[in-house]
Amino acid sequence: MDFKNGAELLELCQQYHCPISEIMKKREWELSEARPEEISAKMKTAWNIMKESALTPISQPRKSIGGLIGGEAHLLNRRREAGKSICGSVLSRAITYACAVLEVNTSMGLIVAAPTAGSSGIIPGVLLALKEEYGFSDSAVENALFNAGAIGYLAMRNATVAGAVGGCQAETGVASAMAASAAAELMGGSPQQCLCAASIVMMNTLGLVCDPVGGLVECPCQARNASGAANALTAAEMALSGIRQLIPFDEMLAAMYAVGKKMPPELRETALGGCAATPAGCAFSCQKK
């Protein structure tokens, strides 16, 4: 069983009367050489790493290698616990955890690239927030990760997830689309609503450039992971409400790829444009040298 695009994925869901996660699992069972129990165990390991990286920095903040970030998750968590969050509990948790994972990543801790290291905070952020808020089991979340994997696979296959090729829209944009789709399924949405959520994210992140200050995965990457989590929850909420979108996921993915290829090299991970080229960004780079 395999699918080449979102339309084929939806057909399979309809044919087998099952959610996206189930189709992605079947595909993995059939096409990889691993046994089903090995695949489940591997996903459990991935989710355990995700949870640990989302929670540890709250009590143990760590400075990044480049020194630009560290301690953000602790600050966000303190504000939420003090009842001051303007986002509400779910979103506040999601952005806290997204920032936390980037802290772990930039201080040489263990993370799961999802789909990349620079965008590794969004999926754990969104899914751990939903798990805590709505009491989902770990195995329910591990299932949802297969759904996220289906979206990421399509992005890898039909577009790109590399910032150097397609800008930040390909990294945090795709991560956010993956999280939105997984969140929609976790909250009881249909396969159509999952792809709709992913499509909304791709619209909302279209054109986002990759411009890491000093070439490091720190600024603006951490903030982009927080906003990626917010984007995912916004899109899932819209899709779950029954709002429909004009542009199907496959077409948005193609649009993202086309926009990425038109971006000048300065805005694709070379640290020569955007945030990296601001006076403050340049001053930091020079000081590091």
Binding site: M24, E28, L31, S32, E33, I39, K42, M43, T45, A46, I49, S64, I65, G66, V104, N105, T106, S107, M108, G109, L110, I111, V112, A113, A114, P115, T116, A117, G118, S120, I123, L145, F146, A148, G149, A150, G152, Y153, M156, R157, V161, A162, A164, M178, G214, G215, L216, V217, E218, K288
Partner: protein, 223 residues
């Protein structure tokens, strides 16, 4: 098109901060270590392109050294690689080469010396997302990813050697996924690289060595 697994999307599990500059660097060195002709006394890394410019901010040096000591991309000892190498008595050195421009952006040369004085130099490229490939062994250009069970045979460029290799493989009922030949020049040292779907048996190396024109055999198994 190669199969994209759900774990290519949600993965690798890795020590940060960069899949190309940290995890990829670790994977290249881990492959090099598997090819080494014995326990290492010293290792010298030469970094090119983006590796040369930004290795410190990405822990590329720590990841390379960790990989050489056998650490996988998710090994929490990677940040302590320098200390662990010193404790193990492994000498290490990093050199930056920013003059070479006609080279893939994330490239490293790894020069290994074993405790018995044998040497091996391997060039690797980090392709993004943690994917890597080995592009040179000693002075010969090669190409393999290490994702498959891989057999590397170093031999004299003589008729019949490749037939010997394929006979050894077919005798054990091994299905070849990819097979490539590389050589320095006609009649000189040649490299035969075989990638297999299943896991190649450890005893295959001994069988292949029986041919007089075979100099050395390396077996690189995936994790």
């Amino acid at each position: 098109m190669a199969f994209i697994s759900v774990f290519d999307v949600l993965g690798p599990n890795m020590i940060g901060p960069s899949s190309s500059h940290t995890a990829g660097a670790c994977s290249i060195a881990l492959l090099a270590q598997k090819m080494a002709p014995g326990p290492l006394a010293s290792v010298a890394f030469t970094l090119y392109g983006s590796f040369a410019r930004t290795y410190k901010g990405h822990g590329t040096d720590l990841a390379l050294l960790g990989g050489i000591m056998g650490f996988a991309t998710d090994d929490r000892r990677i940040p302590d690689s320098f200390r662990i190498a010193r404790e193990q008595g492994l000498a290490f050195q990093f050199t930056v080469n920013q003059e070479e421009e006609e080279i893939y952006p994330n490239t490293v040369d790894i020069h290994m010396v074993t405790r018995e004085g044998k040497t091996l130099t391997v060039r690797g490229e980090s392709l993004g997302g943690g994917k890597v490939r080995i592009t040179r062994i000693n002075q010969v250009d090669v190409d393999f990813s290490g994702e498959y069970s891989t057999l590397i045979v170093i031999h004299h460029d003589r008729p019949g050697v490749v037939a010997h290799i394929t006979r050894c493989l077919s005798d054990q009922n091994i299905n070849i996924a990819f097979m490539k030949l590389f050589r320095e020049a006609r009649g000189q040292t040649a490299y035969c690289i075989v990638e297999s779907d299943g896991r190649l048996p450890e005893n295959i190396a001994g069988r292949i060595r029986e041919n007089a024109f075979v100099n050395d055999v390396m077996l690189v198994q995936p994790a």
